[in-house]
Symmetry: C2
Subunit: 219 residues, 2 copies
């Protein structure tokens, strides 16, 4: 991050205790007071809102190395809930202490703004996905996105486990479970991927990319 050693040390000091969150447990709930940001050390999470009917809308899947809770800064209350998709571990970052540090360390401030801003862009991309794309494009884009995030973090880009159910994928993409299932089967038949339960292998990334962009000729 380009921080000086002693700045890094100060950052280290405010990073609070580690917290384990078992699969299915909430890290925070809607309405909880906002005091911490959370850096995921290990595992995966989903975040979701509830609308007035009690339906859930998954707003994102987060993996180790990513930050949770930035949407709550504005209101001092959490507006969405975060649940672990598997046994996970986070670091608690008391936000008020972080704020003090941000004033002192311009580099850190810049980095923090960058992360918030990237969250905004990420969501704008999801808006694009949800409103412009066909089901097939949505799923391809989703898989490509996961793939590149794993690649960024040093894992294989073409072979990983889905940590979420088909239902959760469908909810996130605005598709019925059945559609997700059918599309996966379809992609498999077309030779673009292999899927067995949660185990996934992307065998034709270039085609998946062009499908995601809506530029594949054979669709």
């Amino acid at each position: 991050m380009g921080l000086a050693d002693d700045d890094l040390q100060r950052l280290d000091q405010i990073i609070g205790r580690r917290r384990r969150v078992l699969r299915g447990e909430s890290l925070y709930r809607i309405g909880d007071e906002f005091t911490m940001l959370y850096a995921i050390r290990l595992g995966h999470f989903k975040t979701f809102q509830s609308n007035s009917n009690g339906n859930h809308q998954i707003t994102g899947f987060q993996m180790a190395g990513e930050l949770l809770g930035m949407d709550a800064i504005g209101t001092s209350r959490h507006l969405c809930e975060a649940i672990a998709l598997e046994d996970s571990e986070v670091c608690e970052i008391p936000f008020s202490q972080l704020e003090e540090l941000l004033s002192d360390i311009p580099t850190l401030l810049r980095h923090f703004h960058r992360m918030m801003s990237q969250e905004i862009s990420r969501e704008q991309n999801v808006m694009l996905l949800l409103s412009n794309m066909k089901a097939q494009e949505k799923l391809a884009a989703f898989l490509i996105n996961l793939s590149s995030r794993y690649a960024t973090r040093g894992y294989a880009a073409n072979r990983f486990q889905l940590r979420m159910t088909r239902e959760e994928i469908g909810n996130y993409l605005g598709l019925a479970v059945e559609s997700v299932s059918r599309l996966l089967s379809d992609f498999k038949k077309k030779g673009w991927l292999n899927v067995n339960h949660r185990e996934l292998e992307l065998t034709d990334l270039p085609t998946l990319r062009s499908v995601a962009m809506g530029t594949d000729p054979c669709t």
Copy 2:
């Protein structure tokens, strides 16, 4: 905003020149270098991304009093384009100068983080809208949203002008123009609103609210 007088003065000083943007003109384009945030003084804007096919996806409509450009902080390049929906005026806020000020004035920092965070929440709400709602609910939610934003800024909640075309509404909501048009006619027939060109009167806000929430009994 709860700023001390001299802090407010310092903020005033970094706010650069005003800039007029005529209807249809771009405030910034995709790929432009990011140096400024923009506070809208007058008028309305739309922001949109382009996907690889050249299709546009409108990511938001902004009105006087709102801030533009926060999505670009992360990349130093603009990822979306902002176009004026009518003759408008903005204040340029050089971001590097703002950053310095943020380090000095904790209250301002907190306020700034709040605005970014609210942008994140706003977009999460749009995700909810795009993926969970029926066409009818989307449009109702959209109108309610506009209404409450006008109300916040001291304008009538139940009577205002649409500054965007039906096509732009449809693009934003993930609907065809024809669907938007049909729905407006439908709402009118049901007595929920009056619409004449861009002039809009919401005559039954309670019902519109319950339609937006998917809890209206007669739908």
